[in-house]
Symmetry: C2
Subunit: 151 residues, 2 copies
């Protein structure tokens, strides 16, 4: 019988496995895992600092440094928000977008052997199962403390 504990074990194992791959590929491009996520987020849309901090579960001050260094490298830029003078909006530069694309290619290449061990008809089931697990239900009235993984 497969228990919830078994599911957790394999989830944790997979997490370390995938995180290891991501860390390695990121390092090859002189990026940390956090910077990788940052680029991943900003790839799709510009975002304000607090928003990024909430999303990543990090302190605002951590973001300041992260953005500083990425900006110094020319990967992203800070812009003003005309509606609210306090807000700093962060967005990718063309160089950042280009790097993100290269990194994504490398990640897909690195994950290919692992995913390739599955039969193609297993893709669908795995995706729907993991999607259930990974998607936080928005309706969790149980714990008023801790809405997300922030502190």
């Amino acid at each position: 019988m497969t228990t919830a504990d078994d599911v957790m074990d394999v989830l944790v194992r997979t997490t370390f496995e995938v995180a290891g791959v991501l860390t390695r590929i990121a390092a090859e491009h002189d990026l940390s895992l956090t910077q990788l996520r940052l680029l991943g987020i900003l790839r799709d849309r510009r975002a304000r600092v607090t928003e990024l901090a909430a999303y990543l579960g990090l302190d605002k001050s951590t973001l300041s440094g992260l953005i500083d260094r990425a900006q110094r490298r020319g990967l992203l830029a800070r812009g003003k928000n005309p509606q609210d003078g306090r807000v700093v909006e962060v967005y990718m530069t063309p160089a950042g977008l280009e790097l993100a694309e290269r990194v994504e290619d490398d990640i897909r290449r690195a994950l290919a052997p692992a995913v390739g061990r599955l039969d193609q008809e297993q893709f669908g089931p795995l995706v729907s199962l993991l999607d259930v697990v990974a998607t936080r239900s928005p309706r969790t009235p149980a714990a008023p403390e801790e809405p997300t993984a922030t502190r």
Copy 2:
């Protein structure tokens, strides 16, 4: 149609989600994610420094510091190997084992809502699918394999 890219996307998303949970719970016990993994490995068996470095994909010198701090906290200890005087064997103290147990409980509690969104009959399929993905084929002598972080 579900593609390999879709699988990768959900894998990465799940990884960040689970890693976030692990990081949060670890932090609640004043542990980093790396220390968590370290305790997870040493829970089952004692190991030498180089071995740990290989498992974790870290430099030996990083392990030195990691072990130093955990030792200072009374979580683990260094022992000698009678066969080889150069070797340092690391093992958990009772306090370390106890902490590892508490942390595991908290992790299981924290992952329960996510896993609980699955039906019980989906446990088996998910575990076997993820096991395929997370288990490096022995044909690839790239890096040493990863034991489960908890338990």
